[in-house]
Amino acid sequence: MSTSETRPPALLTTSGLVFLGVLGAAVVLVPALNLLTAPDSALHVPTYVVSLLGKYLTYALLALSVDLIWGYVGILSLGHGAFFALGGYAMGMYLMRQIGPRGVYGDPVLPDFMVFLNWKELPWFWYGFDLFPFAALMVLLAPGILALVFGWFAFRSRVTGVYLSIITQAMTFALLLAFFRNDMGFGGNNGLTDFKDILGFNIQADGTRVVLFVLSAVALGLGYVLCRFLVRSHFGKVLVAIRDAETRVRFTGYRAENYKLVAFVVSAMLAGIAGALYVPQVGIINPSEFSPANSIEIIVWVAVGGRGTLVGAALGAVLVNYAKTYFTSGLLAPYWLFMLGGLFVAVTLFLPKGIVGTFYDWRARRRASDDIPGAEPAAAPKPAE
């Protein structure tokens, strides 16, 4: 056998192209069907559906960020909702500052809740949020810095497995309690809401909603390409090696904690972007986004779609949330959480690689029997530990 030119895996696989193709089609079709059709037409997509779909896409980006660290590094973060919420709060603070004197109390600077609490001055950490570039920077920095500090201590102390999962839960729970307090200056229990404008555009307008939807789709597409780029690089191979045999990685001379930290921070920033796109589309951000149950739900999305497949994580997020919308608006509403729990158990037992992972296995087996006798299934990540 001669020196084989083993090409690196393509940046975009078939499933990746299909995924980006579907996103691209949605970017064209959804706005067209919303803006160009008559409201009574059968093809018309109402604006609330546009925002609902946009919300699903931000969840898909959040699921992607979790898959990057859970699927490829084996870090089961049960606190990723915190990074999502921080990105959301950064955007929410910008939107609050845009209200200006149009609030109920008409204060030109202070948001309503501060007037209500009898505050006289804007707290220092609200400075700068009237400027969009600053807020956008905070969307990345707030989750990024939290992930950096948290990961620095956790990975350096070699906290792994279930212990790491527990402290990520504790992290998001602590933030939940903190943000509930009025004294924190983030609107307490009610959070931030009643937004008017974003970059000068009316946040309720159809056109703005459509643009937010398109931006969510673009962010998801770019996030996917970024994750693909990372996981197929030498860096990404080290990540998978850490997932499978961390000790070996250390004895091979890699600083496993640094690799985990980079992946964790990138993942947190992606989650922050997802949160920032989520808030203007749902119109509110409050401390419930920090609730531990939210973070656990993300894990269910990823498990359903297929851990370690990226596309699967996004698909799982959209499917489960569609099911959630569907079932929580009907007779079955009180039973949704049972259904979600049952779904997780069922997927773990019967579909451990999730929808996309199972599909990859099936395709690999079929190819193996067609072309090369004795070939093995393509590299698929191990089922959830």
Binding site: T6, S233, H234, F235, A245, F251, G253, Y254, E376
Partner: protein, 271 residues
């Protein structure tokens, strides 16, 4: 330790069979009076020995003799309670470094249980191990060079896995995994290879091939320390043998000399 003199190996050469005393500055690896205690159990008890540059050494001994603990101490996994561990002619104190730093210095380790990256291809396993950039951020944009590819091809020839390069590490047989792991050590290009039970679970033919492989690696200038129970294999290696017992060196010499030693027979080989 104030001066080098006090670091001269202080164990008695075993009834004249052992080599002359080695000084710190001559040795590639130097252990002096290393003691490790786990909950009162002395896994290593004043263990002292040296490995010369280019030497291959086999270590035998009954279960619990401290063989694996010794490797843990050398590779930074376990910190000794007391004693000195120096590398590179006394220039580097290994007790102050962690696993990653020690690996980067040039000490590679093969585990008792073969440990390869199971969901990576055999080729990617070697790529990951190959000496080179280890920092996270530069590795995002790293590309394989022609020299690296040639180096990997050469290792494939050495470990006889060329036709398996595109299979997953996890799909290899037990023996193939052992070889892949040795190949990964070679790719790291270490000065010293620590090899823990490389032929456990191998067929006789594979065992003989492994002995040949290790001799080849040693002939190429790598120092090797092999821990093994398989006496046929140790004989095949044809190198100096050291028998550990209760955390210290019981006997040292050629295999014949060591296996003729009364105490070795008593505690390890059996009568």
């Amino acid at each position: 330790m104030s001066d080098t003199e006090t670091l001269v190996r202080d164990i008695e050469p075993d009834d004249g069979l052992g080599a002359a005393k080695k000084t710190l500055t001559e040795a590639l690896l130097y252990l002096n009076a290393v003691t490790v205690t786990f909950d009162g159990f002395r896994a290593l008890n004043e263990l002292s020995f040296t490995v010369d540059p280019g030497e291959m050494r086999a270590i035998i001994g009954p279960n619990g003799a401290g063989k694996t603990t010794m490797m843990d101490v050398i590779t930074g996994k376990t910190r000794p309670d007391k004693g000195d561990v120096f590398f590179n002619g006394g220039t580097t104190d290994l007790t102050r470094l962690d696993e990653t730093e020690i690996a980067t210095l040039g000490i590679g380790r093969k585990f008792q249980k073969p440990t390869v990256f199971e969901s990576h291809t055999v080729l990617d396993n070697l790529r990951l191990a190959l000496k080179g950039q280890r920092s996270a951020l530069p590795n995002i944009f790293r590309r394989e060079t022609a020299a690296e590819r040639e180096c990997i091809d050469a290792i494939f020839e050495t470990i006889r896995l060329t036709e398996h390069r595109d299979r997953l590490g996890g799909a290899l047989s037990h023996g193939q995994k052992q070889w892949l792991e040795i190949g990964m050590l070679l790719a790291q290009d270490p000065k010293l290879l620590l090899v823990d039970e490389p032929v456990a679970g191998m067929t006789d033919a594979e065992t003989a091939q492994t002995a040949e492989l290790l001799r080849e690696i040693n002939a190429n200038g790598h120092s090797v320390v092999v821990v093994e129970h398989d006496m046929t294999f140790v004989r095949d290696l044809g190198v100096r043998v050291m028998c550990l017992h209760e955390g210290s060196v019981l006997a040292e010499g050629t295999l014949d000399q060591v296996s003729a030693n009364e105490r070795v027979i008593e505690v390890y080989l059996g009568r």
